[in-house]
Structure formats: C-alpha cells, structure tokens
C-alpha cells in the first residue's frame, strides 16, 4: 500500500510542476462548449435540451486529450521501466498513476463543468446530477483511457489511435450519465443510474489495472 501512496504523491508532484500543460485539456473543454451555441443556435430551449449531452461529450473529448500524460513522459525518459521493476504488485502502481491522473484532470472537470453548464442554459435543478455523474464517471474514463494509452505507448502516432480505441468503450458511460441528468431534469428518480455507474466504476477499478499491466508488457516487448 505504501507503493500506492508514494507513486500517487510522486505523480501529483509531477503534475503540479507541469500544470501549464495539464491546463490545456481544460481550456479545450471551455472553448469547445462555447462553440456549440456559436455553431448551432443561441436559442434557450434548444441549448437547454442539448446541454447535458454537449457538456458530457466535450468532457469526454477533453479527458481523451489528457490521456497521453498518464504514461508517456515516464515512458520516454525510461522512468516507467524503472517503476515497473519496483517490488510490489504492479496493479497498485497502475492504480496510483490512474488516480493521480484523475485528480489532475477529472476533478478539475467536475468543478469546471457546472460553471460551463450555465453558458448552455443547463436546467439548474439538474446541475447537481451533472456533478455527481461526472464525479463517479471521470474515474471510469481515466481507467478505460489507461488501457488505450498503455497499448499504444510504443507507437509513433499512438495518441490518436488510442483515442479511437477508447471512444467506443466510453459510450455506455456517456449514455448512463446523460440519462441520469435528463431524468433529474425531469424530476424522475436517478438513484438507479448512479448505482449503475457506481457498479461500473467498481468493476473497472478492480479489473482494468490488470489489463493495463498486460498492455504495458506488450509495449515493452
């Protein structure tokens, strides 16, 4: 367990040092959300209906953009290889890196999203469910993204390929989250959706690190 915390601490420290780069996906998120009223229509009714989906899809894309940061710099300078040689279960190492990634990108998104949602006339009583779904789901996004990044680590144009691989797996998360938000907007029960997302998170958290370890082995072939 000490391995987990020390890696987590290390990665967060590195993230703080690189905070300029990490801000880029967040800026992307802000800009792209603003593009929708510009490209579609500033009509209140229309935007209000589209808002949950737009926020969510843009959050997905922003998360994808930030995925590379999880392993690439460590891979490039060889430190990932060293980390993998450390004694202790590798899945904990992976878990720590994914957690650090989530703290540095997922959590800021959870904070930014409700603010951006105001720009889209988001139904105000549903903003709570927006925050909750993002809170439960962004770790899932980091987990799933980790598999894509780990598989394409040794490839030159790995970034875009990894995004293409991961996006289909994001679809259930997207669907359940936006359904939860729409239910909340219509004053319908949401707890079922939260439970589903929570279950998805737990299963991913338990299984995905093993897949990531296997993928890293392939990349280091």
């Amino acid at each position: 367990m000490r391995l987990f915390y020390s890696i987590l601490y290390r990665d967060l420290l590195l993230a703080i040092r690189r905070r300029r780069e990490l801000a880029n996906p967040l800026v992307f998120f802000v800009i792209v959300v603003s593009l929708f009223p510009l490209g579609v229509s500033p009509d209140k009714e229309l935007l209000s209906q589209m808002a949950p989906g737009v926020i969510w899809v843009t959050a997905l894309l922003a998360t994808l953009m930030s995925m590379d940061a999880m392993f690439r710099s460590d891979y490039d300078d060889g430190s990932l290889e060293q980390l993998l040689l450390l004694p202790g279960p590798k899945v904990l190492l992976i878990g720590a890196k994914i957690t650090a990634h989530w703290i540095s990108i997922g959590l800021p998104l959870v904070i930014l999203a409700p603010i951006m949602s105001l720009l889209l006339y988001f139904p105000t009583h549903a903003i709570g469910s927006l925050v909750i779904t993002l809170l439960i789901s962004t770790p899932i996004l980091s987990l799933l993204g980790a598999v894509g990044v780990a598989l394409t680590l040794s490839l030159r144009s790995g970034g875009i390929l990894s995004s293409l691989l991961i996006l289909p797996f994001y679809i259930p998360v997207l669907i359940f989250s936006t359904m939860a938000i729409n239910a909340s907007a219509n004053q319908l029960p949401v707890s079922g959706y939260y439970a589903l997302l929570g279950a998805f998170f737990i299963i991913s958290a338990l299984l995905i690190p093993f897949a990531v370890v296997a993928a890293l082995k392939v990349s280091y072939n």
């Binding site: 598999v147 490839l155 293409l164 691989l165 289909p168 679809i171 259930p172 669907i175 392939v218 990349s219």
Partner: protein
C-alpha cells in the same frame, strides 16, 4: 487440454489438418447457401406486414449473428494467444478482425436497405443498428491496433488485450444502447424484432445462419493458412511445401 492445444496449434500440424477442414467447409457452405437461398425465396412466405422485404432478413440476421460470433472467436483466440502463446491463435485474431468487420458491414448495409422501405429512412438510431455500428468501431480499433506494430506478434498480443477488454464491454454497450433507445423510442416500434417466427421462416433463417458460419470458418482457414506460410517462411517444413508447389 494443454497438450491438445499445443499439438493442434503447432503451425506445421495446423497447416496439415486445416486443409481438409477448409475444403469440406467450403463445399458445405456452397450446398447450404444453395438450399438456404432456395428456401428463402421460394418456400418461405412473404411477410404479412413487410411483404417481400422480409427476404432481406435471411441475410441480415445471419450477418448480424456472425458479427457477434466472430468477435467471440477473436476474443477467445486472444486468450489462447496470451496465455499459451500459440502462434496460430495470434494469426486467427488478425483474420477474425477483418472478417468480423466484413460481416458487421453486411449487417449494417442490409439493415439500412431493410429500414428504408420499413421506416422511410435509411438510418434509424434503433438499438440493433446502433449496437452494430459500435461493433464496427470496435473491429476497426482491433484492425488499426494490430496493423500499427512493426512486429506482427506484438501487434497480435496488443490486439488480443483489446479484444478481451472489448468482449467484456460489449454486453454493457448493448445494454446501455437498448436502454437509451427505449427511452427515446418514437411511436413506431422497430419491426426488425419479431416476437415469434413461423417455422416456415425459421428454417431458411437457420440454414442461412449455418451457411454463414461454415463460410466464415472456411475463409478463416484459408486466410490463416496463407498467413502462416508467410510468418513461418524460414521454417524447413514451409520451404519443403513451397518447393513442392513449383
């Protein structure tokens, strides 16, 4: 079990025993297709609601079934390739990805052509078609990942992991898409799902379904054998075979 896998999975032995299977499967495929097509067009009745367009069902549904079946074969080969490092399994993964994408494309195209006379538009975001579309994306992912590596063995291992992650996610994706669809359901219910099917329609459908399976297996053997020759080109048994052919 291990010995069984290692024996039949060894490249040289696989090349031998697959030859017979490929030939017989090809013959069975042609026979079943002939019977199935005859049944589909001349024996099965036109549908009470859909008229003659129901004939499309006899290729759309088998294609859709195959798109799922091939993915399972691919994921299973992935497990065999990763756990026991069988070279033949690695080749099968790559071939299944391409063949599976073909079947998925067939299912989508026939689905669209069936949909236009039924619903008025070529595309409808119903659960079935949407799931097939996502499946196509998954296949594209495996194909892209497999081909991105210089060493095909590494590529196969990466594709195997992706396929295994995919097979776990596919039920989740299907479930979420169905749920999404029922929530946004318009007044017209999809007519592609039939609650119960008359035996006169079921038999041609099953015959065509089996024909598609044998077609897939025969093609899989054909392609994997060719690929095997290429990958094992330095082995003495391969050089013998090539010499005999000239």
């Amino acid at each position: 079990m291990m010995q069984f896998i290692h024996k039949y999975g060894s490249p040289r032995y696989y090349y031998q025993w697959s030859r017979g299977w490929q030939k017989w499967l090809a013959i069975i495929t042609v026979a079943l297709l002939a019977i199935g097509l005859y049944q589909s067009f001349f024996v099965a009745p036109p549908d009470y609601q859909q008229g003659e367009t129901v004939r499309i069902m006899y290729i759309h549904v088998p294609a859709a079934w195959m798109s799922m079946f091939v993915y399972m074969v691919m994921a299973f080969s992935g497990i065999v390739a990763l756990v026991w490092r069988i070279k033949v399994a690695e080749i099968v993964i790559g071939e299944c990805a391409v063949l599976g994408a073909s079947f998925t494309a067939m299912a989508l195209i026939t689905g669209m052509l069936w949909g236009k006379p039924m619903w008025g538009t070529y595309w409808v975001w119903d659960a079935r078609l949407t799931s097939e579309l996502v499946l196509l994306f998954l296949y594209f992912g495996v194909i892209a990942l497999h081909g991105a590596f210089d060493d095909p063995r590494t590529g196969a291992k990466a594709a195997a992991i992706l396929a295994i992650v995919g097979i776990i996610n596919i039920p989740i994706i299907k479930y979420s898409v169905e749920w999404w669809n029922t929530l946004h359901q318009g007044p017209s219910v999809t007519k592609l799902d039939k609650p119960s099917m008359h035996i006169s329609m079921l038999i041609p459908l099953l015959i065509m379904a089996i024909a598609f399976k044998t077609f897939f297996l025969s093609l899989l053997f054909m392609r994997s054998r060719a690929e095997l020759l290429s990958r094992e080109k330095n082995a003495s048994w391969v050089k013998e075979i090539v010499k005999e052919m000239s």
